[in-house]
Structure formats: C-alpha cells, structure tokens
Amino acid sequence: MRLHIESALAGRVASPFRLREAAPPLVVPTGIAALDELVGGLPRGGLTEIYGPPCSGKTSILHSALASRTRSEVCALVDAQDAFDPGSSQASGVYLPRLLWARCHGLEQAFRCLDLLLHGGGFGLVVLDISDAPVRLVRQVPLNVWFRLRRAVEETPTVLLVLSRESNAKTCASLVLRLEQEAVQWSLKTRKAMRPALHTPGCLLDGSAHSAEIVRSVPRYKKPRFIDQPATVADSFEAKACFQTNADPYDMQEALPHLTLLPQQEERIEDPG
C-alpha cells in the first residue's frame, strides 16, 4: 500500500509519509535576556500577548523591545490611553525618530489605528497597548477582531505585541506571557550618586523584580511528542523566569542584570487591584 501511494504521488510529493516539522518562526529579541532565554524572543508574523496587573513590568518589556527593534527597524505604538512616556523610553534606549506613536483616546480609535498600521505594512514591531483601558470594555472586544489581527500579520515580518491587563487574544496569540510583580526594591545604600542634602531621610525607589510565565507558546508546544518515548531534556523547559528593572537613571553603567531562571512557584500572587 505504502509503495503504491508513494509511486502514485511520485514527482508531486517528495515523501508523503515523512512527518514535516513546521519551520520555527523567526523571532526577535525582547531586549531582556531572561525573557529571551525563556521564550526565545517575539515571533515575527504572530501575535504576542503580554498581560498582567498594573506595575507588573509590561511597560519595561515594551521599552526594551522597542529599544531593540528601533535600532534596525521602524516600529509603531498604538497607545489606547495615551500613557506612553517618551522620556523614560529614550532613557531605555528607544530611538524615537523610528517610532510612530498613535495617541488614541479609547479602544475604538486604537483598533482602527492598529488595522491601518498592519495593512500599511513595513513595520518591524507594532504594539497595541491597552493596559490602561477599562477591563470591562476590553473583554467586549469580539474574538473575531483578534483573529483578524492575527491574519493581518501572518506571513509578514511584523511582530504584533499586545499589552493588556487580562488575556484576551486566547488562541489567536502565538505567545502569551503573564507578568507579575515580585517585589519593589527600595534602598538608599546602593545608590552611588547619592545626594542626601536634597532629600529627606528615607528610602529611594531602586527598581522592581518581576516574574514572567508562559501561558501559551505555539512554537514550543507544536513540537511532536511520542508517548512511547521518554521526554528528553530538550523537551522539558522552564515556563517561568524572573527579571529585574532598574529605576535609577544615574548608575546605569554600573548596574548589572540580575537575571535568573526561577523554579515554578506554586503560589500565585493575586492582583492587588
């Protein structure tokens, strides 16, 4: 039978009984080593959703990704609530002349702008930031909108990144990351450029630690697994990583990335909001 099928398809299909592995999507770095190690990067031609409560590190990832991409590509940011801070983004390394910023006032404007940008094409990274939009309204966005967005970036070199408070894109997303804030670091001792004369005795905001967990990753889960074969080391992977962000604008040169992979945590930290 096998020979018969192979001979019938000869010349048209090279090897009909060979399992073809889908080529892994091209990815671009997020600019945060721990995240890149965890997820491999943001997939081109796919929708990546990063969600989490306020102050969970979404904006830091946004700035890092923009800093990484604006070095070589043109990026666009659709800001649903006009919350982007050009000053801190430039301090993070974002090359602002390569960033198209659409300052929207509401979800409807934001989705219309996003549609226009994706259909215009040519952007390396397009970000939809709906983190500050009311969760109730974001939930009302129909799923077909997310499907349409996914279709719009498919087969294109564009990375579509969505920042939100809750996961909305569901199966339309190639990669879904959940962020949490682990700790806020306050200190006065480690500051090099301390100017005690200017401030009251107290602590200074130094940074914060965040954790990122993979909720969905299409490229990783698509790897074929055989039930009769034991899982190899390559098949198992950490689904969670921690990264730190630094709030000090003065001692950036001396700050070292404190990026370590952490084991899975059983206890989920609840959203304080």
Binding site: V74, P86, G87, Y95, W101, G121, G207, T245, N246, A255
Partner: protein, 518 residues
C-alpha cells in the same frame, strides 16, 4: 536643422475638453461675452451637425437637444497652454511660445534620441494626446513653414529638405495671416493660394505692397526661416476649474479634484518631475442665509467670496494622482468646506522624483507613499497632533515633548546611530496619566500614609520624597512641584504591588497622580 510646430485647433474648446474627457463625445458649445448676453464662440463637430453656429445666444444654443454649454474660462486656457509648453519641453529645451495655441521647437540633434522625424512627430502627437490635447504637428527645415503647415494640416506633416514650397502651394494665402489691407489687395489680384503668391515677381511685389509683401512671398515660397525666440522653462503647475453649479458634497468634489490631479500629475511626469507640495484653494459660494440680505455689506462680501485653503506637503515627491486624491480627501474630510464649492484652484510645487533602491540585507521599511496615506488615515481618526514620532524638548519640565511628523527612514540610514543612553539592563518603565488625575493625600508625620483617587483608597506602604522641582518661573506657564514615589496597597490586602508617582502642584495647591512605574 529642423523645426517642429505644434498647433492646437479649437484651442478654447480643447481647454474645456481637457478637464472633462467624457464631454468629447457629446455636442459641446462654448459661450463667452458679458453676462447675461453670452454668445457662442466655438463648438465641436457634433454640435455643428446639430446646426449650432457662431454668434448664437446661450439661450438659443440651449434649444438644441443634448448640447452641453460651457462658459469660456481664462484659467483653463492658461493651464492648457502650460500643458502644451510642457509637452514641447519634454522633447526639446529650445521652444518658442509663438501663440496661445502654437509652439515651435528646435529639433536639431533629436533624431539620435527619438529616431526619425516621423517618429518624433508621432511621439509629440501622442504625448499631447495624453495631456488631453488633439494637436497638429508639422516638421520642416524652417520654422515658419512648419508653423503654417501645422495650422493647415492635421498631420503629422514631414517636409523633406529643400521641398518646403511644395506642400504650401495649395494652401490658402489667408494662412500666412496677411493684414486686412494686404488681404484685400491679394483678393483683388486673384491671389488665393500660397503657390500663386510665390509665383509673383518679388521686385514688383515689393514696389506694390512693400516689405510685408516680400515677407509673405518668402513664407509662401518656403523660405521663411528665422531664429526662434526661446522661452525659459517654467515650473508653474496650476489647474483651475470653475463650476456653473456649485458642489456641496465631498464625493462629487473628489471627482473634480481627481481631474485636476490627473492633469497635474500628467504634466509633471511629462517634465520628469513629481509633486512635493499641493496647494488647494476652494472658492465657496456665499452662505444661503446671506442671500436674503441685500445690504451694502453683503454685496461687498459677495465680491470677495470665502475661500478654503488646504495644503499637502509630502515627505518625498509623488506622481501618483490616486494617492494624492486620497490624501486630499482625508484632509477635506477632517476640515470640510462650510459652503458649496464654486471654484477649484490647485497648484503643485514640483521636485525631482527620488528613486530608492532597497537592499537585500536591509530590513524592510514602510513604503513612503503607503506610509503617507496610512498616517493621513490615522490622523483622521486620532487627530493630526496625536500621531507622529515624539521628540523630547530641552526642558526639565516633566513630560516635555512635542510630536513630529513621522517619516520612513531612507535605506541609506537604515541603521540607527549608537545612542548614548543605550541600556545594558532593562529600566523600569513609566506610564503617564494624561491629564494628571486629581488625588487626595493624607499625611502623618510629614509622610503620606493614605491616598485616594478614582474613587479608591490606598494605603501607602513605602514612600520616597518629596522631590522638589521647578522651572520656567520667569514665564507665565512656570511650574513648581513636589513629587513622591509611593508603593500602594489596598487596606487589608497584601502584598501591595502598585508603585505610583504623585505630585503636589504648588501653584494650584493640589495633589495629582502623574503616573505609575511599570
């Protein structure tokens, strides 16, 4: 040495037909004169078949079924003449602006570029046809022979060297444009054709009618050579359209804009140029409510109708009429005319087109034309001031930036310069609350312990501040504030994770939430 002549028959009529291509297949009548006694001054062959004659009144011409009546417009004729010159300059830089409907070209050396004289004549005709002008073309060894032949024959007429007199023989002597007196003399002599004029002895002709007769004799003999008076190429690209009935809706207005843009882009591409800036001026009809006002002020206002100006500056020169039309439409949608439009005037500032060559190993950038359209569409959604790339201002004022027009980087500058602030470690991002949200802050022992905003109350877990800053106190919009970084948490719930920045505006004496660290 060869000269070409381009002649536009029924110039006034063609100036109208040029902007209304669909009207060519219908009987068309052109009227002119002081209102309201308009008279027919020109008509096409279809109107001629219906029996329209010159000098009819507008009302009489309207009696013929299916006749389209248009008023003669000087601006349209100026634009048609400019288009004729553009066509001529696209072949030779040595062009004489002989008359409104005639131009002469020096074709010396052009055979190496365009081939034989027959080819050149054919190409001139087709290029003029693309610009909406049906022209007569003649090429001869001397300029005047070419001019006369172009006026007489539809052509293309090519006169071999040394045989200039032959095609002129049968042409009426009136084509040489003799003065009224001289024309009467020729009529009395029975000289009706150029051939019969050329047969007269020059000496006797000179004695009888003077030097003008000698000049006309030379023209009729095909010896009327003269140097051309060269016209300097201009960069004036303007088109106008005055409407008999004012247009109110944007949809029909965009059709009219499309016609003007088509003509402008054709003329520019003929000259190997592209549009850098478009200036559109719409003359509006006086408002309806004013129509009942017969006061002197109103009558003065009628003499100076309202105008709407719209300008479109492109980041790189464009020749795509459809793209320009879409951009103009978006502009007009954002700022529609407040009254019906009765006249359109469009002016294009040209520039050399820029060609980009994308690199195989360079990242893709948005197509500049597409990007311009995308930006215009986004502007129509969020407003022009809300889209672009941010530029930080040289100020200590928090959130000091301005929006710049976003333009795609050229492939040459595809790699960004190394930035001094390039981060090796991820920095904490900040999110602004725009406009700043009012808040109530409770202090205890000089430190904030509780804050409420958006109807919620938060306990302050950790605070850092105050960070006092001020600036521009020497100006009206000076600022002074105390900023605090606060770690907040709901009472009774742990752990608290939100870190906010709040400020006390010393001028307003109020607390505001500036944003959050994320």
């Amino acid at each position: 040495m060869a000269f070409g002549a381009i002649f536009v028959p029924h110039f006034s009529l063609q100036a109208v037909e040029r902007l209304e291509s669909g009207i060519r297949n219908r009987p068309l009548v052109l009227v002119d004169g002081p209102a309201p006694t308009f008279r027919v001054i020109a008509f096409n062959h279809l109107a001629n078949q219906l029996g329209v004659t010159s000098g009819l009144t507008k009302a009489a011409a309207a009696e013929f079924q299916g006749v389209e009546i248009r008023q003669r417009r000087k601006e349209q004729e100026v634009a048609a003449h400019a288009a004729l010159l553009d066509a001529a300059w696209s072949f030779s830089p040595l062009v004489e602006d002989t008359a409104t409907d005639t131009v002469l070209l020096d074709l010396a050396g052009l055979t190496t570029l365009f081939g034989s004289h027959e080819n050149i004549a054919r190409q001139i005709k087709s290029r003029c046809s693309a610009l909406g002008l049906d022209v007569h073309v003649a090429i001869s060894a001397n300029a005047e022979t070419a001019r006369v032949l172009a006026r007489a024959l539809p052509g293309p007429t090519i006169v071999p060297d040394g045989q200039e007199a032959d095609p002129l023989k049968t042409l009426p002597v009136a084509l040489l444009s003799p003065g009224e007196e001289l024309a009467e003399v020729f009529r009395q002599w029975g000289v009706t054709t150029c051939g019969s004029l050329a047969a007269l002895p020059v000496l006797s002709l000179s004695e009888c009618v003077g030097q003008e007769g000698v000049r006309l004799h030379a023209l009729a003999s095909g010896n009327g050579n003269r140097p051309l008076v060269i016209a300097e190429p201009t960069h004036l690209f303007e088109e106008s359209l005055e409407l008999d009935d004012a247009v109110e809706e944007l949809e029909p207005l965009s059709f009219l804009l499309g016609r003007l843009l088509d003509q402008l882009c054709l003329r520019l591409s003929t000259r190997a140029l592209a549009v850098r800036t478009i200036q559109l001026q719409l003359e509006l009809e006086p408002r309806f409510e004013n129509a009942f006002d017969s006061s002197r002020e109103f009558l003065r206002a009628r003499q100076l109708p309202e105008t709407l100006h719209c300008s479109l500056v492109l980041p790189r020169p464009v020749r795509d009429a459809k793209l320009l039309l879409k951009l103009l439409r978006l502009r007009l949608q954002a700022n529609p005319p407040k009254a019906p439009v009765q006249k359109l005037h469009m002016r294009a500032e040209p520039d050399r087109p820029v060609a980009f060559e994308g690199g195989l190993f360079l990242p893709a950038v948005p197509d500049p034309d597409k990007l311009e359209l995308t930006l215009a569409r986004i502007s129509s959604v969020v407003g022009e001031s809300n889209v672009g790339s941010p530029e930080l201002l040289d100020s200590y004022r928090p959130d000091a930036f301005r929006m710049q027009k976003f333009s795609a980087p050229s492939p040459e500058s595809s790699s960004a310069p190394s930035m001094p602030g390039e981060a090796e470690v991820s920095k904490m991002g900040f999110r602004f609350v725009r406009p700043p949200m009012p808040a109530n802050v409770t202090f205890q022992g000089g430190r904030p312990v509780r804050i409420s905003f958006q109807g919620k109350s938060w306990n302050v877990v950790q605070a850092s501040g105050p960070w006092r800053a001020s600036g521009e106190w020497w100006e009206e919009n000076g600022w002074q504030e105390d900023a605090w970084d606060l770690e907040l948490g709901f009472p009774g719930r742990a752990p608290a994770r939100a870190v906010y920045c709040i400020v006390f505006d010393s001028r307003q004496k109020k607390w505001f939430v500036r944003g959050s660290y994320d």
